[in-house]
Amino acid sequence: MKKVGLIVNPIAGMGGKVGLKGTDGQAILAEAKRMGAEQVSPQRTVKALERLIPLKNAIELITYPQEMGEEVANQCGFNPKVIGSITQGMTSSDDTKQACKDLLKMKIDLLLFAGGDGTARDIYNSIGNEIVVLGIPTGVKMHSSVFAYNPLRAGDLAMIYLQGKVKELKEAEVMDVDEEAFRNGFVSAKLYGYLRVPFGRRYTQGLKAGSPPTEKYSQEAIAQKIIDDMENDCFYIIGPGTTTRTIMEKLNLDFTLLGVDLLYRKKLIEEDLNEKKLMEHIKGKKAKLVITPIGGQGFLFGRGNQQLSPNVIKEVGKDNIIVIATSHKINSLNGHPFLIDSGDTELDRLLGGYVIVITGYQESVVYRVIS
């Protein structure tokens, strides 16, 4: 019998309705409640769980007490195994982390969690890459791509994953913005890491005639293309992400998944550079910048790669920015343009328009960019 863990962050999403940009921290929660915010996370979780009802007798659902999972599980007619303890109405990020640790010990096959970016971060910090997870989107901030498109899809994807119909996994970004800064009108999203989620390609795209290449295969084709085209007297700045990581793997170089690395003649110059160090290396030299859109919303700059500051971008020059992405990643944006928020409005405007994105060894697409 498959074991499914369920963690509901009951307060996720409460800040949204009352215009607060997130619900991290007790003070903000109190503020949200004072402004009349109601819980939204449990109802949205129910939508996802309902999709799993056909598997009710085929899975063992393990969850935390009361509003952290027990209640919604009961509401959907499951007979959950309840572990741990909480203080009702007073749950916090510590409870999520503790629930992760407890569930990890139970050797679950899939962890379903409901929340937003903050919850995804807590999950990532507690379990890393150890179990397959899937996010039910119920929060305010949704920069991470560990979440299904909506609760229904989360339920459906979980269903087919548990039935063994989806075997492929993908590494999805865990991102979060600093809420305090965000509330003050300043966005700084950070890429925290990657969680393993079921790859719902077949499922989300419907039945297809052919068998499209896997995400990994596409990434390798793109990486090979970048490597084969590398010029000798040119620095290559490799931005964060799993698509860009494949370049480093193919070159057998050390890399930082979340950071920015610098290459010259296919050799690593330095790992994990900040803006200042980057500038020291490339100032006045020829450099190309290889980036991939980050997060579920398709940001090219300004989320998860702040090291690539306006200064760095200007030094490299618009024509030396190489954008790479698998077709699946682009299609998952549902036609929404890439976004840029470099922090420099003039630069954002300059980078807007259309960009060529390398999507395979012989293939690229022209895609729109807006700021």
């Binding site: 909506n150 229904l152 419907g206 297809k208 682009i330 549902n334 293939e363 690229s364 697409v365």
Partner: protein, 524 residues
């Protein structure tokens, strides 16, 4: 789970109480019975053997099989029953309202044309016959060329490609030959296409060795002129584009597209595989194209896909005739003949000179309609499509992304995303349920950038009553999706096979397209 008896179809109730035959028929190899025969040949008579030998020993040694082929062994009657049963288990184009196969142009192919193509006058021709003995069919090939020149405005057609994708490959080869002539073929290694053009417009040039730049649509569903400007350069070999695209939206800036590509020295190829909405209305020439092709098996009736052999009619302007595959069929005012003297020809893309039955059927179809008739075909196809569009948009949860409020040409790519979000029912579920009411399903809506895509193309063939029947079926399924989604999600209930696990279709270790592969993979 569904109404067992159902109510009879009538003027008021347009939903058919359909049930597919189910014969539970094994694969023919499993029916094989050792030694069973369809035909028993008599022993060869001595006299005959003396005259012409035993018929085998005078064959070249390397052509004689050492072992007989491993074919199923069945009597005639068993074979007949087997295939009749299988035919009853399909929803063929002649049985159902086949408008759910958008992009395929499932029009009615008049049977008279089939009759012509199966007449012995025609079937007993051999492609190796001397041209003086096949003047009739050469005349037909030549005249169809003249018709298509008129329809496209271009200057010469070949019918050698045996399908649209092969015509695209031929176009890519001609583009290559053209740039080779000016010594630029190495530098010009990029072909530009659009996301909503047919996927073969990207795939076939890749086979030729080209790199592909694919333009994404904007909010209005069209590729932007600025996006094309971003894509073109001195590396551009050519443009390969469909218009109207698979969304049914016509790109009104097409003339500007060809201009921009010409300006950088590229060649423009028009994928007119499906020209069903524009016959006699707009032409490749006026849009600025150098090359184009039509699928005779779509626009020009001679049935589509598995319903009949394909033919890609490839046309070029004067400048590109010298690259066409050989032989060209020409006329010297006294006789029709094969012209092999095309020194810059890209060579053959197929044996002989094309799929002749498809050519004959298309010729006959055009002759029966005349130029006014062709235009009417398009006008009715467009009218049917926009009637259907209006009706579909009245259904809850349906939308037609892009170009809101505007008319479409011959087809529409709809979206069931709203319905999906509200009910969890997907496009795939809907198409499976439509089978329960006797409508063939279709699942190809590449690229999958429209969420829950659904492509309908009613062509000119279907009457208002039939379109209304289709809509009534769709309406019923939509109602079910909101009231009783399970019935839709578990469909089909009245088909040969109920729910199958389609996952294996994506898994090369589990699929087998030959009996031998099946035996191997299933370790039997």
């Amino acid at each position: 789970m569904f109404e067992k008896g159902g109510t009879k179809m009538s003027r008021k109730n347009k939903v058919r109480n359909f049930h597919q035959a189910k014969w539970d028929e094994p694969v023919i190899f499993e029916l094989s019975n050792k030694g069973e025969r369809g035909i028993l040949f008599p022993e060869i008579e001595k006299e005959i053997e003396m005259d012409i030998g035993d018929g085998i020993s005078n064959l070249p040694k390397n052509m004689v099989r050492k072992q007989p082929p491993n074919l199923p062994e069945l009597s005639q009657m068993q074979v007949l029953k087997h295939y009749l049963r299988l035919s009853q288990q399909t929803l063929g184009a002649d049985l159902n309202v086949d408008i759910g196969q958008g992009t395929c142009t499932m029009k009615y192919s008049p049977k008279i044309n089939e009759k012509l193509a199966t007449s012995s006058k025609f079937t007993e021709l051999h492609p190796s016959q001397d041209e003086t003995t096949v003047q009739g069919i050469l005349e037909i090939i030549y005249k169809l060329d003249l018709f298509l020149r008129e329809i496209s405005g271009l200057d010469k057609f070949t019918f050698q490609p045996s399908g649209g994708s092969q015509a695209i490959f031929a176009i890519a080869s001609i583009v290559h030959a053209h740039h080779e002539a000016s010594g630029e073929s190495e530098k010009r290694d990029e072909i530009i296409t659009t996301m909503f053009s047919h996927p073969s417009d990207a795939a076939a040039p890749i086979v030729k060795g080209y790199k592909i730049i694919n333009i994404y649509p904007n909010e209005d569903g069209l590729p932007a002129v600025e996006a094309l400007e971003k894509a073109v350069s001195n590396r551009t070999a050519g443009l390969l584009i469909t218009n109207p695209e698979d969304t049914g939206i016509f790109n009104p800036k097409i003339r500007e597209f060809t201009r921009i590509v010409h300006e950088v020295g590229g060649v423009c190829g028009y994928d007119q595989a499906n020209a069903n909405g524009i016959l006699g209305i707009t032409r490749a020439k006026e849009a600025g194209f150098d090359l184009c092709f039509f699928n005779l098996h779509k626009t020009f009736s001679s049935p589509h896909g598995c319903g009949g052999p394909a033919a890609g009619a490839l046309g070029v302007t004067e400048e590109f005739i010298k690259y066409l595959p050989t032989p060209l069929v020409e006329f010297d005012e006294s006789k029709y003949f094969f012209n092999y003297d095309v020194p810059r020809s890209i060579g053959k893309v197929r044996a002989f000179y094309g799929v002749v039955p498809a050519i004959l059927k298309a010729y006959s179809w055009i002759m029966s309609l005349g130029s006014k008739g062709l235009r009417e075909v398009s006008e009715v196809a467009v009218l049917n499509n926009n009637y259907l569009l209006k009706k579909v948009l009245e259904l809850r949860g349906a939308s037609a992304p892009y170009a809101e409020g505007r008319h479409r040409i011959e087809q529409v790519r709809y979206s069931w995303d709203e319905l999906y979000k509200e009910t969890g029912v997907t496009t795939e579920d809907i198409t499976c349920r439509m089978v329960d009411f006797g409508f063939h399903m279709w699942s190809s809506h590449h690229p999958f950038i429209v969420p829950q895509p659904f492509t309908l193309e009613p062509t000119e063939s279907y009457s208002k009553a039939e379109i209304d029947e289709y809509i009534a079926g769709l309406k019923k399924v939509v109602e079910e999706a909101y009231e009783n989604p399970e019935i839709v999600k578990t469909a089909p209930h009245r088909s040969v096979v109920h729910k199958i696990d389609v996952d294996s279709l994506d898994d090369p270790t589990r699929w087998a397209i030959t009996w031998r592969a099946y035996l191997k993979k299933s370790k039997k």
